[in-house]
Symmetry: C2
Subunit: 263 residues, 2 copies
């Protein structure tokens, strides 16, 4: 704990913002009993596709990008490196195309969406990429309806998994065992529930990869001590009028995903 | 509740993803006693600057972009519309430059960061924009160290406000009244705590702008029922070794922000 942390931070510039994580890693390595005996991380691809839900991806990205040595690849399904627009119009720049994704990979991640996610599931080219990379990934992961992509790739057969509440029952159509938890682990598959569950998912994964102390440090850095001003984040907690309306609104989306399980 | 919701959704394409919100708005308008008697929203600028923390912005963006009629402007401090890189290397495309921001505005929002945030505070040009737009905004808001920008603009004098835990005490240097809550409202100024507090902040603002039912629907859609796998999101909750290490790590950052309060 008497590191060159201050020296690192003293010279910190915008580009050197990751210095704290290097210091953190060093400190962790010096802490007896910490879980830092891991090999250097391979690349971790996160899939960017038109119509993805940005928050599904950016929550986990915060944690993935803070893992010392991790190389996060933002992989676009588009043919070039143009920014990829989310369902709500937020465009994020990819770092690599499907064809140029490095072969060696660690964590494979899929955000959710609605029509955009279905377009991924309908694309033979993208689904071939999903299956190929899943066969080599150490961890196969998703948040929200990203689990529909895993299902379509045949990765959830007989596996416990979760999804956004709207598509949770559809998991069964892909042969999965719908498991009503915020984050569900089955072997090397880790799935998170809808949208904001990406934070809980990423913390669980960070703990799995780097141990409790490291994960705890990132939780503190993200000041993740949620206090929802409105408790309505599940059908059980929502008021009946709002729950009914939203249930009706999303029913056609579930039907469309279900149809893709049959095709 | 017998709307043309299914018709809207039946024809839903990637580009028409916002249809549910139109249906939601209509449904809300038909619900007696709901708070939908609001004027069409003006534009809501969110500031993008090199080194911003992406999660500070993308959490609130999810809610802002789901407000019927809202026009979210992603305003870049750079001279052109090139993607703006976050502190962790996630680049988001802006929609407008400082000079071309529409004059009429509703919610003005600032995400946090570290060195990038300090660069904003050192820029006469950007700070002139902040002061000008704050003088006309209906709501002046921030998440994380975004409150340092508000402080530098002189907007927090005598006001209750919050910030990331690392810079929370620095609020006093700007004449603010540091208030240890997840989300703090003082007049038309709404500040959120660090990073992940952007979700709680945005829900509080949504309720303020559109009423309880509307906010509840978005909370359910985002499945915001957090279950942190590790409870360590505040100094009080973190273990002593992690808390001490992180406190030391961020102390120089607080010092640098404090110096900017004097300059």
């Amino acid at each position: 704990m008497t590191l060159d942390r201050r020296a690192l931070l003293g010279g910190m510039t915008g580009a050197a913002l990751l210095a704290p994580y290097f210091a953190l890693e060093k400190a962790m390595a010096q802490t007896a009993g910490s879980h830092t005996n891991h090999p250097p991380a391979a690349g971790s691809p996160m899939l960017l596709y038109p119509g993805f839900t940005a928050l599904d991806l950016v929550g986990p990205h915060y944690f993935f990008a803070c893992l010392f040595g991790a190389k996060v690849h933002l992989v676009t399904t588009q043919s070039d490196l143009a920014p990829v627009a989310s369902d709500l119009g937020l465009a994020i720049s990819p770092t690599v195309t499907l064809d140029n994704t490095p072969a060696d990979l660690d964590v494979l991640f899929f955000p959710g969406g609605t029509q955009g996610t279905m377009d991924v599931m309908r694309s033979d080219r993208t689904m071939a990429w999903v299956k190929d990379h899943a066969s080599r990934a150490k961890h196969i992961t998703s948040v929200c309806t990203g689990s529909m992509i895993l299902g379509k790739a045949g990765l959830l057969k007989g596996k416990r998994a979760t999804s956004h509440w709207a598509t949770f029952p559809v998991l069964e159509d892909f042969g999965a065992i719908p498991t009503n938890q915020r984050v569900v682990k089955d072997g090397n598959i880790l799935t998170g529930a809808g949208v904001s569950a990406g934070l809980d998912f990423a913390i669980a994964l960070t703990e799995q990869l780097r141990g409790r102390d490291y994960a705890e440090a990132l939780v503190l850095q993200a000041e993740y001590a949620p206090e929802p001003p409105i408790v309505a984040g599940s059908m059980a907690a929502a008021s009946a009028p709002v729950g009914n309306m939203m249930g009706q609104m999303f029913a056609p989306v579930a039907d469309q995903f279900r149809a893709l399980a049959k095709s």
